[in-house]
Symmetry: C2
Subunit: 450 residues, 2 copies
């Protein structure tokens, strides 16, 4: 019954983000212009992002200072708690020690505000008046809406139409924070109108929504675009998770043997793992790191490491990443935040360098793990986080078999308060597993740009 | 932009609950047997509650020790944060200092687990195997389901049928914790079958659900009944809120001039206010305390101080309280947790003693206040909590008019993650205010037992 919580004093909250680029043996492959196929520079990104973020995107300094104002807002929910999952350990009867970092304490309920607040800050600093973004399941959109409200920035969210209709509560949260939410494809953009002309009943896709958001941001000098994962600066902002965990485990007199994180675009995984992988890269301390992705969207485990577009329409720069092809449409699993065809280039690069291993799990296993966790620890995880829970439980059960008292750390990146339809469907036996045939994967990969 | 948060070290978490009965100039009126109209004793309550809780119900000791195991579970989310609402102060341009205690950090999202965990503990101690309760909106049911999961107790929840159908996500949360949830009226009890025989389409009521839960608990020797508000022991468990606030304000070098809490059954109000009212009763320190209730269920402001039943069917003991009559059916406002015809007898007694004042607010004002709060502070409050937010904002605006820099403390008793339909309806202009005519109130009061 014991609760073991490690709360870091505020004066030990990190004052810098950790930039793993500083510790790489070789830099990741260049980002290429979609037309010329030549490496792009900071100026090419200026219409979309403020220079403060672009400089972080290309920086190789190890420590990047967190502005005071961002630190002050972080303090509303940070340092987030690190728990020893004693009750889960008992339920599993494992000799392993399981620790979890809990990011669901943020006002928007996930790790996303770590970067949303930083992005809003740098945009505000440079005089930007409004932020435009896209959202699928809504975690990112509601986090940016929250951050925008704090900084007095207008926020415009293109929300994939099927989610807009099926997840009215996520939309309501964004609207409560004062954001404007538009179902995508919309009649407000050329991209949206073109889709609607051809497919009047289109239910949208993340790719289309990105195209709409980018179009609006690029043509409005007072607006900029914001992305919730994949890019280096987004991963950078999330490293507060791992940095705090390091300090909290130090309080516990412990260091992880195994770190588990779920992966979609890669940002929460990077957040928990990069500071530890950095120590490994610097030869200071070894650790085994495991990325867990859905079997229904297996970019790391079944994708190809190749140049591809970040969006479905092929408008973004080309980045080298593990991808299933930008035309890949993942199955309708409930972990909406993990349904992305590619992986953050920095995460992909580290997999190529052998710095972590990747595995995938089926949807039903993740929900079973989530309920086991909820009944033992009291927190209902988001479907995305259930992938990390399942990964951690598997490692703990392996420890049981082997009789090894290893130390496992995982990132519980968000709560499931907005995902109860998924749990309802799971408990009613309505959810399914998904598995792609080799042919299906090959067909999607055939669409990679040459 | 500054965040000002007061986190209490775990070693300063209260180790005792505060029992205000010890500081009363006169005890509250006796609880009467519904048949004999004679005062009841502890043994009369034994079929429904474990003796550990009954002893707390009638105790007059000032400090009642919190069992170690309960403290350990509290530590998962306690001490809860106390915030200085700087950004709200700025938005209101008030000289007042506004502090809020935030209870939404509990796994179930409100203050209810403070008592659910304690109740589960004492039942478990006495060998009880299952807990039976009722729930309206679902905050209480999900908190007891959470506590039951931790202690390995079965939890059976009779959920008012209209909520069961309209709020499937609250039900899903209870089921995720492993509770069994039954729509009330059900065919499982005599009470339920009697109602269904007469009204096959009955959508239920809290009163009917209480009757069903009490019936099941009373006839099953391994089961006990659990109530989420109103009773002395429930209010007692909530005093951790105010005790922590006292210590946190001490850290801030401050003491409230005004305390604001919302009232339904009275438990969150008691939690924040009783430790401060106690200091006033002991002549140590003065404070103005304001209870804010919905205009649609105005027991304190428009009810009568009289003996009445706790349930609609008239099966419970008679208690002296501010009541609108046990036959009163409040309007369908979204603050479901405040829709109760009566008030905790201890809270009523303190109002009679002039220890606090009561006011009521309309629904639309509470949602406007909630959105103002969400956009300034980033946390979306539950509709119930919006009543406290509205009360605090009104006090802060009065300070602005008067040019007084008073210190206001209020209890933000829960988040609104499960209440987004209410916000959606509010933003769509679909919500209404409610006001009862004097005749309507008089008619409800005419049903009071003689």
């Amino acid at each position: 019954m014991e609760t073991v919580k490690y709360l870091l004093n505020e004066d030990r909250m990190p004052t810098s983000w950790y930039n793993i680029a500083a510790d790489l043996p070789a830099p990741p492959p260049a980002v290429l212009h979609p037309g010329t196929k030549q490496p792009i520079g900071p100026d090419d990104l200026a219409p979309l992002f403020p220079m403060g973020l672009i400089m972080q995107e290309v920086s190789s300094e190890r420590e990047i200072e967190i502005p005071d104002e961002v630190q002050s807002i972080y303090r509303q929910w940070r340092p987030s708690p690190l728990y020893r999952a004693r009750r889960l350990e008992q339920a599993l009867d494992t000799p392993a020690k399981i620790y979890y970092k809990y990011e669901g304490v943020s006002p928007a309920g996930s790790h996303k505000p770590n970067t949303a607040v930083a992005q809003a800050y740098y945009n505000k600093q440079e005089g930007v008046k409004r932020l435009v973004t896209e959202t699928g399941a809504g975690q990112w959109g509601s986090s940016l809406a929250f951050a925008g409200a704090l900084f007095g920035l207008e926020v415009l969210v293109y929300m994939v139409k099927v989610s807009y209709n099926q997840k009215p509560y996520r939309r309501a949260l964004m609207e409560a924070y004062g954001a404007r939410v538009v179902a995508s494809p919309s009649t407000e953009t050329n991209a949206g109108r073109a889709i609607l002309a051809e497919h009047p009943d289109s239910t949208g896709s993340l790719g289309i929504a990105i195209s709409e958001a980018v179009e609006i941001a690029a043509q409005d000098p007072d607006a900029r675009y914001a992305l919730g994962s994949v890019l280096n600066h987004v991963l950078l902002h999330q490293t507060v998770i791992g940095l705090e965990s390091l300090a909290q485990l130090e309080m516990a007199g412990d260091y992880p043997d195994i770190i588990v994180g779920c992966t979609g675009g890669g940002s929460n995984f990077a957040g928990i793992a990069f500071p530890f992988i950095g120590a490994k890269l610097r030869g200071e301390r070894d650790v085994r790191v495991v990325a867990v992705e859905p079997a229904a969207c297996p970019s790391l485990t079944r994708g190809q490491y190749a140049y591809d577009f970040g969006d479905t329409a092929g408008m973004t720069p080309l980045v080298k990443m593990h991808t299933l092809g930008h035309g890949f449409v993942p199955s309708g699993i409930h972990a909406g935040g993990l349904r992305y065809h590619g992986m953050a280039p920095m995460v992909s690069h580290l997999l190529q360098l052998g710095q972590f291993e990747a595995t995938n799990v089926q949807q039903l296993e993740t929900f079973t793990a989530g309920l086991t966790f909820a009944r033992a620890e009291g927190i209902l995880p988001a479907p995305e986080a259930n992938h990390a829970v399942a990964g951690a439980i598997n490692e703990a059960l392996r420890c049981k078999e082997a009789g090894e008292a290893k130390t496992i750390l995982f990132n519980l990146c968000g709560h499931g308060h907005f995902d109860l339809q998924a749990y309802t469907d799971f408990q009613a036996g309505k959810l399914k597993d998904f598995e792609y045939s080799a042919e299906e994967v090959a067909m999607a990969l055939a669409g990679l740009p040459s």
